[in-house]
């Protein structure tokens, strides 16, 4: 009997996972269909780009500056005697551009932008504003989801690029002001083994993370249950799922593209 119960639980969980994937698939299909509603999503996309990009710029740059400074500072004092100081520039660049810049920017924006998306769309769902849009012959996906997804796909790489620059400049300033690393050492390390594809790799990650944030968070808001509690639960679930999705995508991108970023 317990075995049968366990089997039923397992089967139910497995079916739930498959249903979740299927519902996400339908949602993605709706987003792609919504691209035809060209009268609806372009203006909203610009507004969402401002919300996601411009309004997050200061936070992103500050977080990246601290990230770069601390990474470089700690790297310098982890080196043992005999290691050339240019290694600090190399390690800082590789850490920031290939991993920390895109990843931390995405995680920060998950809380800053993703939670806001879920809360906005979820509130519209529970207050039946989405139903009202459908009544007015507006495609709610074209008005709510597609602009956020496009905005995130465009603005995340832009923010990550600026975050990388901010982190590297912060690393340079930290090193020359607080350590014995000279500018020439840092620049030598920055240029060592650099290939432009490393920047492309960073942007690929940023694009993937932006898509994950917008897709997951807008979906969780879209399916939010009634009441303030339902919106709260949807927001918390969106942050958790998005964070896990970002880390999973980070691993997938690294597994696929990491061999190509080596000079």
């Amino acid at each position: 009997m317990p075995i049968a119960a366990s089997w039923r639980t397992l089967h139910k969980g497995f079916c739930s996972v498959l249903r979740q994937f299927g519902e996400h698939g339908y949602y993605l299909r709706d987003i792609m269909r919504a691209a035809r509603e060209t009268d609806t999503w372009p203006r909203e996309t610009i507004r969402q780009m401002r919300v996601i990009g411009v309004e997050s710029l200061l936070l992103t740059v500050i977080v990246a500056a601290f990230l770069g400074g601390v990474t470089a500072f700690q790297t310098r004092f982890q080196l043992f005697p005999g290691v050339q100081l240019s290694a600090v520039g190399l390690i800082a660049r590789q850490s920031i551009v290939l991993e920390l810049g895109p990843l931390l920017t995405a995680l920060v924006l998950t809380g800053r932008v993703g939670a806001r998306m879920t809360a906005e769309i979820g509130t519209m769902r529970v207050t039946e504003q989405i139903d009202a849009l459908e009544t007015l012959a507006y495609d709610p996906v074209a008005f709510l989801s597609l602009p956020r997804l496009l905005a995130a796909l465009v603005m995340l790489p832009a923010l990550v690029m600026l975050a990388n620059v901010s982190a590297i400049v912060s690393a340079w300033l930290t090193l020359i002001l607080a350590t014995d690393v000279r500018t020439v050492d840092f620049v030598d390390g920055l240029r060592l083994s650099f290939i432009p594809f490393q920047v492309v790799y960073s942007l690929v990650k940023a694009t993937a993370f932006g898509g994950a944030i917008a897709f997951v968070c807008s979906y969780q808001g879209y399916i939010a249950q009634a009441g303030a509690e339902g919106v709260g639960k949807a927001t918390a679930r969106a942050v958790v799922i998005t964070s896990v999705a970002i880390l999973t995508l980070d691993a997938i991108v690294a597994a696929v593209l990491a061999p190509f970023v080596q000079a």
Partner: protein
């Protein structure tokens, strides 16, 4: 409001793209005014890659811009040299270690007194570089092999050849010898102790009064000997004076010894005495005429 959103978003995108492109170009090419390219050829396995520094007489003048594999057995390396530096004729390029973790740099070594310069796009001839980490590791491997061979020889000699058994045997014999010497030393020590005790007993048995008397007698004898010696020295001087006179022929004895006429006379006298004795024996009455009344 809508117009403002578009401006802000556009500005952010432009700044982002500009920062990305400028940063990438600066890292990959050293900036838009990157100077000029030069080339060098190194054998396969030189450990070169993009971004490694190029030093001219120790001054950082550029970086490795590209490395191409030539199937003929060499690497064609493109060097991005800053425009404010020129490479003198006669300069040689070598791959040298940079730090201790196997990184490399390209060292350009100019010749002293060169007044002409190489042109952009020239290929810098390759010179002899300093030992790389790989060379040092190879040397370390060689030493390790020698040590291993030495260890094998020692093992063969001492283990397989019975050297260790011989050493153990010699050590055992040495231990026995040392034990025997120890016994001898113990016996000698015991005898020395006995002798010492006997000597102490003898010294204790000596009467100090007798010793004092003996010492006084010795002192007296020594004084007598000194007086005798002094008299002997006087006698010796007198004898030496007498001998001197004899040698000089002065005095009766000296003349007797040194004058040949005296000897002739004495010889003549002895001959006459001999003839007289003969004559006395032959004619005693001539010389002896006894009469009784």
């Amino acid at each position: 409001m809508k117009r403002r959103d578009e401006v802000l978003v556009g500005l952010l995108l432009i700044v982002s793209v500009a920062a990305g492109v400028a940063g990438t170009v600066w890292l990959a090419r050293g900036g838009l005014s990157a100077g000029y390219d030069m080339y060098a050829r190194f054998p396969w396995g030189a450990g070169l890659k993009n971004g490694q520094p190029v030093l001219l007489a120790g001054v950082n003048v550029g970086f490795v811009k590209g490395v191409k594999l030539d199937p003929a057995g060499s690497l064609v390396v493109t060097l991005a040299v800053q425009k404010e530096y020129r490479v003198p004729d006669g300069t040689t390029a070598a791959v040298e270690p940079n730090g201790i973790f196997g990184d490399q740099l390209i060292a350009l070594t100019p010749t002293l007194g060169a007044s002409t310069y190489m042109a952009a796009g020239d290929t810098i001839p390759t010179g002899a570089g300093t030992p790389t980490t790989g060379d040092l590791l190879a040397k370390g491997d060689s030493i390790a092999r020698d040590v291993e061979a030495l260890t094998g020889a020692l093992r063969a000699e001492f283990v397989s050849g019975g050297g260790i058994a011989d050493l153990r045997k010699v050590t055992g014999e040495m231990a026995a010898l040392v034990a025997e010497l120890g016994q001898i030393a113990t016996a000698q020590s015991r005898e020395l102790t006995i002798t010492q005790q006997q000597l102490r007993a003898t010294l204790a048995a000596v009467d100090s009064a007798v010793v004092d008397s003996t010492m006084r007698s010795i002192r007296t004898s020594t004084a007598n000997v000194a007086a005798i010696t002094e008299e002997l020295q006087v006698a010796q001087a007198q004898v030496r004076s007498m001998l001197t006179k004899l040698d000089n022929g002065t005095g009766t004895a000296g003349k007797l010894l040194n004058d040949p006429s005296v000897y002739a006379r004495l010889d003549m006298l002895l001959m006459r005495l001999d003839s007289l004795a003969i004559d006395v024996k032959a004619n005693p009455r001539r010389y002896i005429n006894l009469r009784v009344f």
